[in-house]
């Protein structure tokens, strides 16, 4: 069998939810172009050759959607996997399906060129032929649990059952270094900066708007409106505008979150959800926006109301 191309093995990363498969993460351009038949594409070339040269049906493999698309492969085709970056000792596999890799914000910029193999196939693929025990042992295995909270108990249980085995949870405590927790803190920091910035902007805007109403306020004061009465009207108006603005903002975000998600999912080729407006987020927005809006209106109006009537009416 002439191996003219190979898929470079990048590393074993994690077990899939289905325990029957292990995962291979592949380099960004795993397929070396075939010189003989570029029109059909390298992967098709490989599979065609392999299909012709393999007498028995090769073991099945799942490949990530990204790998499927990147290499122009299709379900049913046969591909070669090698543990060696140069493509030595390849093994044929038939693509039995594709899957969407679990979105990982820590790997946002990387292409998820991965494959899931049955564990025995993976062990066989990784085995060193010079080591007779190679296929009988693995250096490490990642085990995915249904509930990550069980990791500590599971590892201690394993250690007690198999002396000499080192079993440690790979997932950090959920509240510490979890990527989503880190992201949420990052978002919180951005939100705080945004709120402070937008409050300053809002105040400036309201001060400008209030100054546009300088003469109106002066006329109202002249004909006998009290400061308290005008402030009350500003309060009601500010409350209405703030509530309307907050509700509009939430509705706008809800309406456009799909577009934003689709754009970034397309941009980074991931199923990661970037924006999701939940009820608590919407409530938080309104709880922040309404008092801020009202306060900005009151502060801006008070800067006018504290001035005397003659100054308000002066050109």
């Amino acid at each position: 069998m002439s191996i003219r191309s190979a898929l470079a093995l990048f590393g074993l990363t994690a077990l899939p939810p289905c325990a029957a498969f292990a995962v291979l993460s592949l380099a960004a351009s795993p397929v070396v172009p075939a010189a003989a038949n570029e029109a059909r594409g390298p992967a098709a070339d490989i599979s065609a050759q392999l299909a012709a040269s393999s007498p028995s049906d090769p073991p099945g493999v799942l490949v990530s959607r990204q790998l499927l698309e990147e290499s122009g492969l299709a379900v049913g085709e046969v591909v070669l996997f090698s543990a060696d970056p140069r493509g030595a000792r390849p093994a044929p596999f038939r693509i039995v399906g594709s899957y969407e890799p679990r979105p990982d914000p820590m790997r946002l910029g990387s292409k998820r060129l991965e494959a899931r193999l049955h564990l025995p196939d993976l062990i066989a693929l990784m085995a060193d032929p010079s080591d007779p025990l190679a296929s009988e042992s693995v250096a490490s295995v990642n085990v995915a649990l249904h509930d990550r909270k069980d990791a500590a108990k599971f590892s201690s249980d394993l250690i007690s059952r198999m002396p000499g085995l080192i079993a440690t949870p790979t997932a950090p405590p959920p509240d510490e270094a979890d990527p989503f927790v880190v992201l949420e803190r990052f978002h919180l920091a951005i939100a705080i900066v945004t709120v402070i910035g937008s409050t300053a902007f809002l105040l400036a805007l309201m001060a400008m708007r209030a100054d546009e109403r300088r003469e109106t306020v002066g006329i109202l004061r002249l004909i006998g409106f009290t400061r308290r009465g005008i402030l009350l009207e500003v309060l009601v108006e500010g409350l209405f505008i703030a509530v309307a603005g907050a509700v509009f903002g939430v509705l706008f975000a809800t309406a456009t979150q799909g577009i934003v998600n689709r754009f970034f999912q397309w941009r980074y080729d991931t199923a990661l959800v970037f924006v999701r407006v939940t009820a608590p987020i919407a409530a938080r927005c309104i709880v922040f926006a309404v008092p801020l809006g009202v306060l900005a209106g009151l502060v801006a109006s008070w800067t006018l109301l504290r001035r005397d009537i003659v100054a308000l009416l002066r050109r």
Binding site: I223, G224, T226, D308, L313
Partner: protein, 256 residues
């Protein structure tokens, strides 16, 4: 049609009835404006008494303190020194709220620049002070209709200021000033932005308002308007320099 403010409105008797205190009584009013280049004395010990039903014209060159005096009389501004009594009540001791209530219910203002609210129609501009004063809706409607009719703008009630001429805007401003049946109408150059013919219409209207029982104090350069007043008080450099001998109301310059 009933005039906008007559004694039978039940508010107060006219001059000569005896018991009622003057509407406005100012004694030794001084107003100093602090400026970066040094204080500017706008009024220097002005005293003035104005009884019900009178009409006074304050004249003088620009910057002599006419408008400042008008602002003090209208509780728009506060004097640096001196006392001001509105219907016997010391205005210097009134809170901001009480001064606002006085402007709302006892004093009407008409200015050269009209100061109508541009977003409101003529009807709404006239109705607004009544609404703030707490007048019932039916009373407000009747009064607004009466006033717009009185100033000859019943057919322009739904028009906004931008759709009205200068004379019409000033008539709306007069109607608004009369909305709460004030005791005193203060006018600052009410014909200043109007042509002669329109100005004369406004002068006629002021005459009529005064005849119908509203006390009038007008600051003006317009000799026609000034000559219609029963008293003319010329001012110079923050002082009243003379008074009409025909007047029954005392106006004097403190210390003069």
């Amino acid at each position: 049609m009933n005039p906008p403010n007559t004694p039978d409105d039940g508010r107060r008797p006219t001059a000569g009835a005896g018991a009622a205190p003057p509407i406005v009584e100012a004694a030794g009013l001084t107003k100093v404006f602090p400026m970066p280049a040094g204080p500017v004395v706008a009024l220097r010990g002005v005293s003035l008494r104005d009884d019900s039903g009178e009409s006074i014209a304050i004249t003088g060159p620009s910057g002599c303190g006419k408008s400042t005096l008008l602002h003090l009389l209208g509780c728009v501004d506060t004097p640096t020194e001196g006392s001001l009594a509105i219907e016997g009540r010391d205005a210097s001791r009134l809170s901001d709220f009480e001064r606002s209530r006085i402007r709302l219910t006892k004093i009407g203002f008409v200015f050269q620049r009209f100061f109508l609210l541009p977003m409101l129609t003529a009807w709404e501009n006239v109705e607004l002070p009544q609404s703030e004063a707490g007048a019932p809706k039916t009373a407000r409607r009747a009064r607004t209709r009466e006033l717009l009719d009185y100033v000859g703008l019943a057919d322009r009630a739904g028009h906004k200021p931008s759709q009205l001429s200068g004379g019409e805007m000033q008539r709306v401003a007069i109607a608004r000033a009369l909305a709460n049946r004030p005791l005193l109408l203060l006018a600052d150059e009410p014909t200043g932005e109007l042509d002669e013919a329109t100005g004369e219409q406004i002068v006629e209207l002021f005459d009529r308002v005064n005849r119908d029982g509203t006390t009038l104090v007008v600051v003006t350069h317009n000799p026609i308007l000034a000559n219609r007043a029963r008293r003319v008080l010329p001012m110079r450099s923050g002082r009243l320099i003379m008074e009409s001998p025909a007047s029954s109301i005392v106006a004097r310059e403190e210390g003069a």
